[in-house]
Symmetry: C2
Subunit: 169 residues, 2 copies
């Protein structure tokens, strides 16, 4: 039932899927602990220099990404669903306490001038974890912009970094 609510629409949504050889619990920790997240969230040479996580529905998810030139890009959103080790959903269309976001603010983030909801699904797999990221946009332009920014490469590199990081724990 939980899964059926997300029916990816190829015109509007982006899906990233991969099997990783680390347990669900470590992937979950990497996504939900600021100290871990900063290690992997932005593909080098970008950096995540700050991260705030209030892990409850309506709680803040804030990151600050720093470009190789040293420019900071803050991103603020809120969590929507938290099922430990299984499902994490958040959006930048709402801020903390579910307050609708101001589009003009979003335009100044590294994510560009569009809103999205991200759903991370983790499932046990014989080789470790099946990792699925579903990114839901409001329109085709948002999906296209995100795709052209290098969605698949970016999420792939970040996941490589995540796996490498949790293996050091």
């Amino acid at each position: 039932m939980t899964r059926l609510i997300h029916q990816p629409d190829p015109l509007l949504d982006l899906v990233f899927e991969r099997i990783v050889d680390v347990p669900q619990e470590l992937v979950w920790a990497a996504w939900t602990t600021p100290e871990h997240l900063k290690h992997w969230f932005t593909p080098v040479p970008w950096n995540t220099v700050d991260c705030e996580i209030d892990l409850r529905p309506g709680g803040i998810f804030r990151t600050v990404m720093r470009s190789p030139e040293g420019k900071d890009f803050p991103n603020v959103g809120c969590y929507l669903e938290i099922i430990k080790n299984e499902k994490l959903a958040w959006t930048n269309a709402l801020g903390p306490g579910y307050r609708p976001s101001n589009p003009s603010t979003a335009e100044e983030t590294a994510c560009g001038s569009f809103f999205f909801t991200a759903v991370i699904l983790l499932e046990r797999h014989q080789k470790g974890t099946k990792y699925t990221a579903l990114v839901i946009h409001k329109d085709e332009a948002g999906r296209k912009q995100h795709e052209e920014m290098g969605f698949h490469e970016g999420w792939g590199k970040a996941l490589d970094q995540l796996v490498a990081h949790v293996k050091t724990l």
Copy 2:
């Protein structure tokens, strides 16, 4: 903890609070069952002619309001939090499956060109139920527009209709 996430901001938010002499369970039923909701949701002479409720996080909350002149105004949003008999949160900034809403669509709804999140809180009270509605806007203009549309009078009349309706059950 659940309550602390909502700190009303008088510039951005509207709060409606009242004690009603009916039990929490009936107020909850009135908010979460299409057949009940149609009886009270829009102050007469407006009507709610259609209602769709998928009561789970990310599930659709859709209503169609009909003006006295017979014009229909559809509203689509999704549920964010559902704590039976206690808390119901939804927003029109996201559609079903948490897809960010398109502002151009919202402009054509009876709610005007703004997004909001509504949180209904029900608490047991010696006289029945303490009913609190918190409506969260993205900016001051949204709050002002909603207030000038007659927020307090409208929510008051609708609650009168809700109470009258559940007393017939």
